[in-house]
């Protein structure tokens, strides 16, 4: 069973994987930089379960935080506004416990 590789506070970039078929990583978040907020646990991989597999071994699932100002070029809300989204580990590229926002 894979040990979770990411920790809260780590900076991550959402991978831009060329996939067809069922994925749970929305288009709007791909390629974006965020920070791991928490580990939810390990869950069966929906991308494999969608085609009849068991989705095992389970994959770590993280809640990841992004600044809205980083996601939308014309974002007109508050500077502190954020977006949190559940993402599976194989979609996240660790950038280390960086400095800065």
């Amino acid at each position: 069973m894979t040990e979770p590789g990411l920790r809260p506070g780590m900076r991550v970039r959402v991978r831009e994987r060329p996939v067809e078929g069922h994925v749970r990583t929305p288009f709007y978040i791909r390629g974006r930089l965020g920070r791991v907020e928490r580990l939810h646990g390990r869950f069966p991989d929906p991308e494999r379960r969608a085609y009849g597999g068991s989705g095992l071994p389970p994959v770590p699932l993280y809640l990841v935080r992004f600044r809205q100002a980083d996601l939308w070029p014309d974002y007109a809300g508050g500077a502190a506004d954020s977006l949190l989204i559940d993402l599976y580990e194989h979609w996240l590229e660790p950038l280390g416990d960086g400095h800065g926002a």
Binding site: P26, Q68, G77, A80, D81, Y88
Partner: protein, 209 residues
Amino acid sequence: MAHDHDVHAHPPGRDHPVREWEAREAAIRGLLIEKGVLTADEIRRKIEEWEQKSPALGARIVARAWLDPAFEARLLADANAAAAELGIDASGVKVVALKNTPSLHHLVVCTLCSCYPRALLGLPPAWYKSKAYRSRAVRDPRGVLAEFGMALPPEVEVRVVDSTADCRYLVLPMRPAGTESWDEPRLAALVTRDAMIGVARVAAPARPA
């Protein structure tokens, strides 16, 4: 063939003519029962089971959290276990509670489909499942809140949570002023579904006449 009919050819009505898709549902259901995959009784009981689920369940959890800080801490750590303490079965899927504060307001959406904490709130409202909400909640949450009559100052962090995986989110709204002496059932009656999704605050009680 039935499927060539325009689905809007028949006006909606209680009796005849039944809409094409409703006839299709009846045909599929009838075949499943005939083949022993399901029974009519199971289907009826499942409908009743979902009718028992309503926002009143989530409201009890919110009211208890307002009254009991230790319960609130347990709710934030493990919402499924906290719900079970109140006899509420949310065992099917992981629920996470999100606490609103004076400086933080949460709004929940499922952009990819319509994931919703059904075990605690019952069936989702049509607007939550709509393309407009799913498209705009992540990009323009303050605009969406404004449509629901909510405005927040820019210093308050609006935090959108997109439930894309196996977790469901329940917003723990702030307790309104003027309820200091209230007991749990009275508090629970104030808590709306919309406040637990994050498109509304829990309204302060009107002053007694």
